[in-house]
Point group: D2
Chain length 261, copies 4
């Protein structure tokens, strides 16, 4: 067993950071002298996820992607966080975790869906004919009865203001390439085939830009989780001084009693 | 019931953000035109939590506080996230939540303890004699048999390199005031009374700077939760290509079998 | 390092269960032949937590304790579970986890508080004079401005029907001893000193009976977590066919819009 | 808005339980007098999920299904719970939630997969020819390159002792019908087509019996979540007196340091 475990040990271990008494390095950069005071939180996320510091252009676009995702007002998951805080105010981390665990397939998870759709299509496309690629992708979704991830929004119609701004920033900073182009074509194709107004929503825009930055689709949802954690903490903070959870609870309970008559 | 609910409704609602079809505002700033491309993720967290944009000085110090907290290598909570991913790889958000829920009293929670200690002391102190305040705080903890939050580190001795850098940045950007001063005095007093080396660790430094920035201690732990979410996503990302969780599991299981002989 | 880890390995491992290809044992009982079809789920929980099968009397009282805790209608934590399911319907386990993480100090956690109060008091009491012990406990809480855990209920007044039934069952099955007696005296003393009606609620009753069964207070909250998981799954199941979360969300959002006028 | 909300209110509310000051009913049964002391925890789960009390036969089989799922020794999710407890010992509910959130597609989630496969097949099968149905199901999975849920086990070969016992109990209590029959035929067909030994594991057996009991596949995973919560609490309880998490952490960290040389 000893040998086996030692053998196994060679495969183990994290390559992200290293600590010594007077020095911490993250991705081989000195945390105190090369990151703190120099990198902002978005840059640090870029370094953690992609293994290198962003360029100036990348920093602006990547921070904008995260900033766009931070806040969405009263949502099911921030309500879940507030209700959890009501029952366990001693554990801020529990309320935040409750707010994160609901960021699944319906809301933030569509970042992953959009990033995956684009990255898998680009990997398979040999000829670079984006128009026919967009056509096939949309037709495929329609045949399977699936929504195209990253398209459509109940409120932000005919356009999501965050998408326009993200694509404008990407353009200005030389980060608008094939993924953005394909996403735009998919949108036009989807509107043509469905006859409906289908704006690229913020998760579709972030999913496309993840491709431009070389971020694998498997972790694209993580951008939403990082950004939304900021928003969740802010909503719990607001709940501390302007509570809403108790009233929401009484509302749901009251209706129950009402129904029972 | 109608009346009651309408009455109640006046107290409800979040003041953080507002959405219209073509416009989202956060703390009364236009998300697309006044924040995206301008604010970085740390600035956005400052805005969310404190209700206003940081000054240039505040932006640098606040981002440095968050950057300092992002990454701590292999920790119990990142291991929990990796093990969760092993069982539920389809739900990235679940693995992240598992990594957050362990950020309690032992690790990141000490930010809250340090911020609270300092803010409650400053609120009670009428005369501003920080030296006798530090003396009373340390003596109080010793009498109650409690550790002083924010002091001591198993590895980073005699000084935590992040603390030195944070306090240096605070000094350079005019954000080093009474809270930092009191924390430094508490440290000296604790070392004197205990005869031990007790560096201010990164959670003590962040706790002190939370006071300088006017951030209530009740949400100071949230800074650690926001920053660590970045690190948790990075560790899960690493787990996808360099898995460790299965080996950790087999190790624990193997020893169990071994013990059973 | 090898030696150190082998040395360490002697301390590791779980003693709860053991698996062989054709046999699983839990606490040294054969799962297939000695537990399945014989023990009910409550008995199994008793075995897991206390290391032995319950007697017939213990089985009835312990199952009743758990049954009493399963269901509380629409509560903040079941609402959190429903809202989480709305966003991540593909991950039932995430919605259940969100429902559990809110069972903190305000609701189910009071089981722990009551069990701890009673067990610490009984451990310190040398003379067995329960009357003066109850007096001191209540006075201590009043001096510290704390509520006595396990007393009081917003709806179930002047008595909690579950408490009466639990204490009746404990009496009938020879499991009503010093802990129940002390809890009753604490209740009377609290009512006398406060002049208010303070029924022993279900968490106070379960906390007292945990003492009778020899269950350490440190895991008493676990009884609530086990029982409430049943209720949480049921509420998510109801949400699948009679959804409430979307309406609760729109209500909270609608009021937000309303306030904004 | 008033009208809309009142209209909406008619759809809201939970039908599971109702509370009055001196009476709580669950599924129209009086909790104190008709359930506590009479129903065991498994019966209560049956009532919560299926809306009626189980018969004597159903009670034995359903409790056995849950008992079979409670305990699996050291698993990734119990390790995650132990590691979470290490960081947040003040929040038992957080450690339990961390243990639950990892019960996804790889482990307990296969109950859902098996139940769904059987229930969808039975719903489509008009002629009741189970043999050709099993053939088509297995061939379909092989064509799509998917594993058949509920088959195969790394340790319990050639048979899972829990499955044999569950099917024996179902037979003895008149609850072995078409779902069990189909699962058995799928297993034989899968072994024939693959040439491998593929026992029905405990999640496949529970998935089949969920069909026999009329439980929709959408909540079948919930049985695993309920049962495993019992096991998770027991493992955290063991961690309190025989800790393993710190050593597991040091092992993973130590190897990291080792690798770095």
């Amino acid at each position: 067993m000893t040998t086996e475990h030692l053998g196994a040990s060679r495969r183990l271990g994290s390559g992200i950071a290293r600590s010594e008494p007077d020095r911490i390095t993250v991705r081989d950069l000195d945390l105190a002298t090369e990151l703190m005071g120099i990198a902002n939180l978005g840059d640090m996320a870029f370094l953690e996820l992609l293994g290198r510091m962003p360029s100036g252009d990348e920093s602006i676009v990547f921070n904008a992607m995260l900033v766009a995702l931070v806040e969405h007002g009263v949502t099911p998951n921030t309500l879940a966080a507030r209700l959890t805080y009501l029952g366990a105010p001693e554990s801020l981390q529990g309320a935040v975790a409750a707010g994160i665990v609901g960021l699944g397939s319906v809301f933030v998870g569509t970042i992953e869906g959009a990033a995956r759709m684009l990255q898998e299509a680009m990997a398979e496309a040999s000829d670079g004919d984006l128009e026919s690629l967009a056509d096939r992708i949309v037709a495929g979704h329609r045949t399977r009865g699936e929504l195209v991830p990253g398209l459509g929004h109940p409120l932000h119609k005919p356009a999501d203001p965050r998408t326009a701004r993200l694509f404008e920033l990407a353009q200005a900073h030389d980060l608008s390439g094939q993924y953005v182009e394909l996403m735009n074509r998919i949108r036009r194709e989807a509107e043509r085939q469905s006859g409906r107004v289908l704006p690229i929503n913020v998760t579709g825009a972030v999913g496309a830009l993840a491709g431009e930055l070389g971020m694998p689709w498997q972790i694209a949802r993580g951008l939403g989780l990082i950004a939304r954690t900021v928003g969740i903490v802010a909503h719990i903070s607001e709940e501390m001084t302007q509570p809403m959870a108790g009233e929401v609870w009484r509302y749901a309970e009251g209706l129950t009693v009402d129904d029972a008559r």
